[in-house]
């Protein structure tokens, strides 16, 4: 790709906690949603973020966009820390950073027409545009995302999920952003529509020179769209590598379990492969296990894992993994998918 990769966004030591109301007389509990998050995104790449529910992937997306303010750490946008930016400055920055949501209908104001919804960010971020100019841009974007111009005066409830998602994408694109956080953009859609939206996103990415953060629980989808994949478990990064690296040789036992649990639309493969079934369920983030948070479900866990938190190590070129035992765990390729 680029000769000198530019870091568009850099996340440093990000931490986010929520306080959960305890009982009437007990102290509020602290839920650590994200901890020790460090990574960067190069211009033009797609970074996938995968993890199961409650792993903090949506929280991370919102912290990047400053829709939630992190407790600690920096979100550096072209070197500028967004967390320290005054509200008015940040508002202007929002033109550069946009978001697409999971539930396409819930993300559209039911009382506004499609045209109004798409133009909404322009009213605040490009106040110099007049009504006709806004409308012109709206129609242009609608065309780009595959909506017919005659839909401009319709209301969201008249659309199916796939079309509603196109409206959401159009709204995100209208400010000509550099980075879009896609928060599970296809998981609420029908299969055939999912594929259309995934293709649309990759076309738009090329056309508008976008950088994407693609958040999903579905590893197949993430692998399909992403250059690099970040795996989160209980609010911590467990692995960060390119899609091929993750697929060919996951280093972290959790990544490996995720990979083998992904449903494969291929009956013979599905019958052959050994699912590296995880025991139990995700522990509560209010009271995470000591040491390595994954140890309670890990079949490679040793007593040592309970005492020390594994650091996020850089291995090979630019791969990151947080596991004490990654060197010892053999990765026979056929064990992963049974192929």
């Amino acid at each position: 790709m680029d000769q000198t990769p530019i870091n568009l966004l850099e996340i440093r030591d990000l931490r986010k906690t929520f306080s959960v109301a305890g009982g009437l007389f007990s102290r509020p509990l602290t839920l650590t949603a994200l901890e020790n998050i460090n990574f960067s995104i190069r211009k033009g790449e797609t970074l996938g973020i995968v993890g199961e529910s409650g792993c903090g992937k949506s929280t991370l997306g919102r912290c990047i966009l400053q829709l939630l303010s992190p407790d600690e750490g920096q979100v550096l946008w072209l070197g500028q820390d967004l967390t320290k930016l005054p509200a008015e400055e940040m508002r202007k920055r929002r033109a550069d950073l946009q978001i697409i949501f999971q539930d396409p209908l819930a993300s559209l104001n039911p009382r506004m027409t499609v045209g109004e919804i798409i133009a909404d960010p322009l009213r605040t971020l490009r106040p110099e545009l007049n009504k006709e100019q806004r409308r012109g841009r709206v129609l242009k974007i609608m065309e780009a995302v595959g909506l017919l111009p005659e839909m401009i005066n319709r209301y969201p409830h008249e659309f199916s999920g796939g079309q509603a998602q196109r409206i959401g994408i159009a709204r995100a694109l209208i400010t000509e952003p550099k980075l879009i956080v896609c928060d599970e953009p296809v998981s609420a859609l029908d299969v055939s529509i999912q594929a259309q939206i995934l293709n649309l996103l990759s076309e738009l990415k090329d056309e508008f020179g976008l950088t994407l953060i693609f958040i999903s629980h579905n590893l197949s989808v993430v692998r399909h769209v992403s250059d690099r994949i970040l795996v989160l478990y209980l609010g911590r990064i467990v692995e960060l590598a390119t899609g091929d690296e993750i697929y060919d040789g996951p280093r972290h036992p959790y990544t490996r379990a995720l990979l083998t649990a992904v449903p494969i639309p291929d009956p013979r493969l599905a019958r052959q492969r050994n699912i590296d079934a995880l025991k139990g369920e995700i522990p509560s983030p209010i009271n995470p296990p000591s040491g390595c948070t994954f140890r309670t479900r890990c079949r490679f866990a040793k007593p040592y894992c309970a005492e020390h938190r594994p650091p996020l190590e850089t291995i090979e070129d630019n791969r990151l993994v947080a596991c004490h035992r990654w060197r010892e765990i053999e990765v026979p390729e056929e064990a992963v998918l049974g192929v």
Binding site: A195, L198, R223, A261, V262, P265
Partner: protein, 327 residues
């Protein structure tokens, strides 16, 4: 194999204000003991409504026609109190969101025990004991402790297991699972699918798996029925449909599903949107989205007809189907 369910010419219609919507038409299939049938389709294909009709759970304005024979009993059009003798006992259904089917104010053991008391005449103590055993069999750790819990104290995966345990208590011949894993995480989904597989093997339960996810189907189903616009468009074994789909819609679905092992640059999705049931296209309802449609498809609806090896499809097109780049 013994047939446990035989559905003939079933239809489901909903009365709207001044019109009628046909959610399911001309549905025919049979289900053998211990077999897993996957019913695949997108939203609005009628896949869920068909089975809600069999369970007698249609909305008030819905009406079912045709026959659904469980041995010599027709489940369609049966009086609700008659149906209650079979529902839960011979045929059970679980849903995507287990929380909606569990009473939040009752302990798990009470809810499970009730089923046994009602259908199998167990005494309360015995029922609770049997219920706890069943919880263990569906892979719930510390079943005695969980049995004492309320539904909200369990995680999503646990609740779905409880639902399955509840459904299995009376050892039904047929278990209908409507998107049972859609709300669950992948690792939990894998556990559930594993559980389904062992259920059909150990109990001989016939499983109907209603889903939109072909990845889920591939792992567990023996046979598949693909639905579109309220009708079955293709039927056959899972392997046949995956490796040699005959209907363009089945092919399109396969090409729309991202595959972790084969990373294509682009997916080859089906164009357009699923039709609304109120306004189905003339001729073959798939024709506006079909890459192989020709003039006949626009006027004449293809019937679901047998082809080879016990397969059936509803399509006029007979030629080879080269599809995009990934064919």
């Amino acid at each position: 194999m013994k047939q446990v369910l035989h559905v003939e010419d079933m239809s489901v219609t909903f009365a709207l204000h001044n019109s009628e919507v046909h959610a399911v038409r001309e549905m025919n299939f049979s289900l053998a003991q211990g077999e897993t049938l996957a019913v695949v389709g997108e939203s609005g294909s009628g896949k869920s409504q068909a089975f809600l009709a069999i369970m007698g759970l249609l909305a008030k304005n819905g009406r079912a026609g045709g026959r659904a024979m469980m041995e010599d009993i027709n489940l369609i059009g049966m009086e609700p109190n008659q149906l209650d003798k079979h529902r839960g006992k011979d045929i059970a259904m679980i849903f995507q969101d287990p929380m909606t089917s569990l009473n939040p104010t009752l302990k798990i053991k009470t809810q499970l025990g009730e089923v046994l008391v009602k259908h199998r005449g167990f005494e309360r103590d015995k029922a609770v004991q049997a219920a706890t055993e069943m919880l263990e069999r569906v892979g719930i750790p510390e079943p005695a402790k969980r049995a004492n819990a309320y539904p909200h104290e369990l995680s999503g995966g646990m609740r779905q297991r409880v639902m399955i345990a509840m459904a299995l208590l009376c050892q039904p011949k047929i278990l209908i699972a409507d998107e049972p894993t859609t709300a669950l995480d992948v690792t939990v989904q894998a556990q559930m699918l594993d559980l389904f597989k062992s259920l059909t093997e150990d109990f001989g339960t016939a499983l109907v798996l209603i889903t939109h996810d072909l990845g889920v189907v591939a792992g567990v189903a023996d046979r598949m029925m693909v639905m579109y616009g309220g009708r079955a468009v293709e039927k056959g074994t899972t392997d046949d449909l995956f490796y040699d789909p005959h209907h363009p819609y089945t092919l399109g679905l396969l090409h729309s599903t991202p595959h972790i092992a084969k990373r294509a640059e682009r997916l080859d999705p089906i164009q357009g949107l699923p039709p609304s049931l109120e306004n189905l296209p003339k001729g073959c309802s798939f024709n506006p989205r079909c890459a192989f449609a020709f003039d006949r498809c626009l006027v004449e609806r293809p019937p679901l007809a047998p082809t080879e090896n016990g397969r059936e499809k509803a399509c006029h097109y007979e030629g080879p189907m080269a599809y995009g780049k990934v064919a």
